[in-house]
Symmetry: C2
Subunit: 103 residues, 2 copies
């Protein structure tokens, strides 16, 4: 929503996003490594879904969607509002299932 | 956008999201560990921004925003559309800076 060429480099959000963009490739590699840990679970689940639903389920689509959802939900570790801090303890926070998809 | 109690458990997306929700706390811990690697860079950048801009910059807000943006951009590893596959090679893909905030 922000074009880097159109805004001031003294904008704090732009400065931070420049760093973010620089680190993103390395961060992406780390993220992929994390997802590799869970891949077998998602693959198994997607295969089960395909078996049970018995229709044209594209397992790789389902898995990618689940991964995107996991990243979306991980944002809750770093909330926008006024909070004490998003330290390691925040990782223990487990939102109620009913709230999960409401954001 | 989907309430778990209101939809069928045979919905493939719901089934996958149940697994996602189960794995989310563990995934969040892994994500926090990844961000710890980069924290010093973001903290330094936020301090510089605060110094340079010389106004009421809340460094922790800036850092959390950058983290959320990093998670948002990591979704590009797992695109919605028709692609070959979101394997480890995809992590090497580096979008042009000008495209970064357009999605």
């Amino acid at each position: 929503r922000r074009s880097l060429s159109a805004v001031s480099y003294t904008d704090p959000h732009v400065s931070m996003d420049l760093l973010r963009a620089v680190l993103q490739p390395s961060f992406n590699n780390d993220i992929m490594a994390v997802f590799m840990k869970y891949q077998k679970f998602y693959e198994k689940a997607a295969e089960n879904v395909k078996e049970n639903v018995g229709m044209e389920v594209q397992t790789d689509h389902l898995i990618r969607e689940a991964y995107r959802n996991a990243l979306e939900h991980a944002k809750q570790l770093f909330p926008e509002g006024e909070v004490k801090r998003a330290g390691p303890g925040a990782a223990m926070k487990r939102p109620k299932a009913s709230d999960e998809e409401c954001s």
